[in-house]
Structures are given as C-alpha cells and as structure tokens.
C-alpha cells in the first residue's frame, strides 16, 4: 500500500511538473517576445488574444499540425531520437529541483519537489550533459552541412562550459557541505547569508556558463543565423523542431536559473509577506528575475566566435572556478 501511494504521488507530481513546465515554457516564449519587443521599442505579439496572450497557443497548434517532414537522406532513428534526447534530460533536471519547503494543506504534507536526493546537484549536471547528445545526434543525423557544423560547435561549447559550471558549483557546495539542493538552500540564512556575497567569482562564472549552456548571446554560435541558418535544427520541421528551442532556450534557461537561484540567492527564502505561498512566490520571483536578466543580456550583446568561446572556457572560466575553489577552501580552513 505504501509503495502504491508513493508511486501515485510521484506520478501525479511528475505530471504536474511536466505539464506545468510545458505551459510555462510556452508562455516564456511570449515573455521573451514581449521583452524583446519592448527593448526594441515595439510591442511584440499584440493582436492574437488580449496583448498576444493566445499567441503561444496559436504557435503550438500550428507547429503540432504542421506536416512532419523527414528529409530523404537522414538517419531516421537518430533523427527522431535527437529531439527527444535534447528535450527529456532538460525536463528531468526538474526532478531534483525543490521549489520550497514541505507545506501542509488539508492535513496532507505536500513536498514541492519530486525527489530530494543527496546527489541532486550532480544529477542535474549529469542530465545537462546528456542533452549534448541530442545536439550532436541532430547535427549528425540531418546529413547536411549546416546542422553538422552547428552540432559540432554546440558540442564544443557545451563540453567547455560543463566543466567550468561544475567547478564553479563546488564553491557553494563546500560552504553548504552538501550536494542536496534543499540543504544548500537551508545553509543560506537571511539576506546576508546568501552565497552571492561570498562567492561572487563563482557567480560570474556560472552566469557565463548558463548563457553558454542555453545557447544565448554572446554564446549562441550553434544557431548563428547569419552563418548557419538555424544551426543543428535546420533540417527539423514541425514539433520535432519545436522541442529544440523549447528545451534549450526556455526550459534549459529556466531550470539553470533555478539552480543558480538556489546556489546563490537562497532559493525560496524571503520575508513572509505573501502568506502561505510566500516561498513559492519568492522562488519564482527570483528565477524570473534571473531569466529576465539572461534575456536582457541576450538582446544586447553581439556574439563571440566559436574558437573564442572555447578559449574563454578553458583559459579564463576554468582557472577562475578553480581559483574560487582554492580561495573558498583556504577561508573554510582558516575559519575552521
């Protein structure tokens, strides 16, 4: 009985998370388009629904009912697999991200996370790395030159920044003394307890790494439109195409923003001014601010060349994150 109830709870939770994430991702596209519009002094989606509120639905319906075109000379298995490989790991990271402390509603204890395991962060990194395969498969299976180059570029960038990202996360982990994301949040007490004040170097490295991981400028080499049309997903159409930007630009950015908020901004901690849902609101507010910051950078800066990006990854970001570990270790040792 115990097992069944756990399974049911898990399934229900997962469904809520996945559906919620889909909807959120769809509306994140609208937020991005609105934001980009206003940065450029235009309104963005406006006439489809009230202020473009139905725009994501129209886009989704259209993309779903579009002819599913598979070019003749592609490797069919990999071609289908690639879009899943890119999308599923991005969603799976959600499994380890806590959105708040357990709360009690109608006597039930609801845990706003799927699992809380003590290697949460490592799992998140691992899932993040799997999505590289999606990109490489997409590039390879398309049997076309632009996707090929785009895929290889993206792989080079991801590998470089995965390392920097991992090492930069070590700083907060050392301070919290745990890999569990929940415990990391609990280690940050009060406004000045947030790790951003102690780990600014790690934060900068992680900012750059997230930009690179999610393919936003200045690191969006994989789909630099002027060079590679639309990069590794050039040959994809319909919903198979839709999954890529959804996974990468929206879910990826959202999830990684959540991790960054947990690591540096004390997660859902904040003054209890919104009542019972205060932790959620704080958490989503912080993640949203983070997301907006990425958008802001995306719509401002030009992009690096791919060799310059990898150069920065290996020559600047990696040493910086190692230096950060070193400094943190010394401080912890001195303080005891």
């Amino acid at each position: 009985m115990e097992i069944i109830s756990t399974v049911v709870v898990l399934v229900v939770k997962s469904l809520i998370f996945i559906l919620g994430m889909f909807l959120a991702a769809a509306y994140l596209t609208l937020i991005e388009r609105k934001f980009a519009g206003h940065v450029q002094q235009r309104p963005g989606p406006l006439h489809v629904g009230f202020h473009g509120l139905l725009q994501p639905i129209a886009d989704a319906l259209k993309v779903l009912t579009k002819e599913d075109l598979v070019p003749n000379n592609v490797d069919k298995v990999l071609f289908y697999l690639a879009s899943l490989m890119a999308f599923v790991p991005a969603i799976m990271i959600l499994a380890v991200i806590p959105f708040g402390d357990p709360i009690k509603i109608f006597g039930f204890e609801i845990k706003p996370y799927i699992t809380d395991i003590n290697v949460g962060l490592i799992l998140a990194l691992a899932f993040g790395s799997i999505s590289i395969y999606g990109v490489i498969f997409a590039g390879w299976a398309s049997n076309s030159k632009y996707p090929m180059i785009g895929g290889l570029r993206k792989a080079a960038v991801l590998i470089g920044y995965e390392v920097a990202l991992g090492f930069a996360m070590v700083g907060p982990i050392m301070m919290a003394g745990s890999f569990s994301l929940r415990e990391i949040v609990q280690a940050q007490e009060g406004f000045f307890g947030a790790f951003i004040w102690y780990q600014p170097l790690a934060f900068i490295v992680i900012l750059f790494a997230i930009l690179a991981e999610t393919g936003r400028t200045p690191f969006d080499v994989q789909e630099a439109e002027a060079e590679l049309v639309s990069g590794y997903n050039t040959e994809y159409s319909g919903m198979k195409f839709g999954l890529f930007p959804l996974a990468e630009w929206y879910i990826g950015t959202f999830v990684l923003s959540a991790i960054a908020v947990i690591l540096f901004f004390g997660g859902w901690k904040g003054p209890h001014i919104f009542g019972a849902f205060s932790p959620f609101i704080w958490f989503f507010l912080k993640v949203f601010m983070m997301f907006m910051f990425f958008l802001w950078v995306h719509w401002t800066l030009p992009r690096y060349r791919v060799d310059q990006i990898t150069e920065i990854a290996w020559k600047v970001m990696l040493p910086l994150s190692l230096l950060n570990i070193f400094i943190t270790a010394i401080i912890i040792m001195v303080k005891g």
């Binding site: 388009r33 002094q41 235009r42 473009g52 009912t65 599913d68 075109l69 439109e225 049309v229 639309s230």
Partner: protein, 173 residues
Amino acid sequence: MAITGNSGIILTTVEEVLSWSRRNSLWPVSIGLACCAIEMMHTAASRFDTDRLGIIFRGSPRQADVLIVAGTVVNKVAPMLKLIYEQMPDPKWVISMGGCASGGGPFPTYSTLQGVDRIIPVDVYIPGCPPTPQALLWGIIQLQKKIKEKKEGKELKEIPIRVPTESKPIKQI
C-alpha cells in the same frame, strides 16, 4: 494546393481552430532577393513590427509557413527558389511581393523570370516597386483572409474582418 483536408462534414470547429492558429502564426522564410527585401526588413522592424501579428522570420525553410518572394527572381536563382519552396512543409503559402516577383516587373530581359508563379504557385500578389511596409502588411492580412475563407470552402470574396476602411480619409484642411 496548400491546405489539406476540407471534407466539410466532420470537425468543423477543430478545423476552425486550426485555421485560426495557422493564420495567426505565419512564419515566413527570411530570404531577401532584392529591393523588396529591404522593405520586408522594415516591416519586421520597430515601426511596423510583424511580430504583433505573430509573424516571426525563420532562417530555415523547414520551419516556415510562408515564402515571401521579395525581389527580382532571375532565371539563375529560380531553381533554388523552387527548391526552397519544396523544402517547406505543408501547409504553405507564397506571397509574391513587388512587381518583379509577380510579373517580371520593369525587367523584361533575357535573364529575369517573368513572374514567380511560373515556377511556384502564388497566393497573394502585391504590386509596388517596392510595396511599402503597409502594403506588405495588407498583403499578409489578405493572406490571412484567404486562409480563413479556404477553410470554410467558400468562394473568395472580400469579407470585413477587423480591418478599417481602405486608406484612411484625410482630415480636410
């Protein structure tokens, strides 16, 4: 040619919803050929902003719904353009922007294709050299009307959707 399935017996509401989503999310291929491409860029820019109507430009034809042929199509580029059109997934539409694309325009010469409709079927013709952004937007609205009409299987005729009169009357001075 472009619209599939029009039995008229089942699921008209579903079809209506689909037609609504299609006409509100027309993604053109960002391919510019000549002068008209500049006006097409202006249409996408801040002053006129096609994004309002849900139109965003995609680089790859595989992800696009509309081919806006913006500029002179010369014989040498015609097979490529046809290839691009064939790479687009159904349902797809073609807007022929400007005189050159629609009918050869002012270049009745040995090297110019006299109308892009000789190689790909065209849905909307926009005269002009080049058409202003407003004229292009009007053409896009005409295409949206066409998509709506096709769905209902009616004869094509001018129907009043939420569009004011032609060219706003000028206040008397």
